[in-house]
Symmetry: C2
Subunit: 240 residues, 2 copies
């Protein structure tokens, strides 16, 4: 329950905040805290670590930004549920600072999502299969409204990741949503005709049906085809 003084922490990163972060994560582990469990107050940690409240605050805030903990006014900090927020920021930062390009994002997504569609076909509940199919159909229903099509598309991919029952996949797929929102309209516009756009929606529906039918092979193949086609569309738009 008690935390070791700063001097004994192995998490040293030169500054006190790093050690505080180490102490807090250590606290979570040694006490086997889970999502929702409450952490010590800033004042308590401040005393136990012999550092100022500012240091503890910066540590807390850092962990909150990474979504490891939740902060609320008046309430104590709590252990947070996994969330793609931190990874989203990271990916977007990489793209905006020219350290990552769109093709690389597509390659990762293709790799990951071929797997999520396989797993979804094997593990999805009936309810999940229905939701996935609904999203696919919504894309066709709202064909005229590109924004709605995009949101359904994103929801479709995320729901497949959820149905894979592996939270890491959900996080990764979720992390790319921000970037995808920026490139999606380009791909949509760059398709030569409405026929091609309908064809894309068709693949989504076929994929949803493969998952509903519990056919992992077909699901995976369709996902691959979807990405290959999208990459081609993006290439046509000059994103290479």
């Amino acid at each position: 329950m008690s935390l070791a003084p700063v001097e004994e922490e192995q998490f040293a990163g030169g500054n006190l905040v790093s050690t505080a972060i180490g102490a807090i994560t250590q606290h979570i582990r040694t006490n086997e805290l889970g999502p929702g469990d409450r952490l010590p107050s800033e004042a308590t940690l401040s005393k136990e670590l012999s550092v100022s409240r500012s240091v503890v605050r910066e540590a807390f805030r850092s962990l909150a930004t990474m979504r490891l903990i939740d902060l609320n006014v008046g309430k104590r900090a709590t252990v947070a549920q996994l969330d793609h927020g931190a990874m989203s920021l990271m990916i977007e930062h990489g793209v905006h600072t020219a350290q990552i390009n769109i093709n690389q994002v597509y390659d990762v997504r293709r790799t990951i999502e071929m797997r999520t569609s396989t797993l979804a076909a094997l593990r999805r509940t009936d309810a999940e299969a229905r939701i996935i199919l609904d999203h696919a159909r919504a894309m066709e229903t709202n064909f005229a409204d590109a924004d709605k099509v995009m949101e359904s598309d994103l929801a479709f991919h995320l729901e497949i990741a959820r149905a894979s029952k592996n939270p890491i996949f959900s996080i990764i797929v979720g992390a790319f949503q921000g970037v995808s929102r920026q490139t999606w309209p380009i791909g949509w516009r760059s398709r030569a005709s409405d026929a091609e756009r309908h064809a894309m929606n068709r693949i989504h529906i076929d994929l949803a049906e493969a998952i509903l039918a519990g056919d992992p092979q077909a699901a995976s193949q369709l996902m691959a085809r979807h990405f290959d086609e999208s990459a081609k569309a993006l290439l046509a738009a000059g994103i290479a």
Copy 2:
């Protein structure tokens, strides 16, 4: 160059720190800053955003913890290079709070690394191929010292990711290193005999040679076999 006052920021997350974080990332984007470029000082941002220095500090610290920026005493903050630090913390947090289990980690790694080995076989430089092979051989050379074997193993996988020339893969593979360090000894011990351990090393060498030979198919197959075998070893140890 100038930052909008807090009131106009769309990044609102209820607290001022979130808006400051938004303003800073926005600044990086609109000014197209890249790794190494300097950011405004805390005092400057404090004035421009009309918030206290504490708020700016928490924002900076948060971004530094996520490795989006680098902080140094006396120096101004700079844009950072991509790094798996943040994702590592996230994954470890997920594992320690029972939101992620080891099988899920293995599934993601298998999925990702089948791809990195494919790409490495296609894109590796000769120097990279040699380094990968060296790591594989080091595992056999240091057979008696499990710790050294492990470090070579980890370096082997990370180098393959690097050779894939997609930084996102490097980040993801790197992010799992912390967790792997904890499970690796279990897998090593759980193998029935030294013969099995040598067999595992053999796969690594074969894989390195497939990458050197530029055979993506073989590389990918060997990586898959490696993970299937490791999963079996872990299963034998009761990690399921």
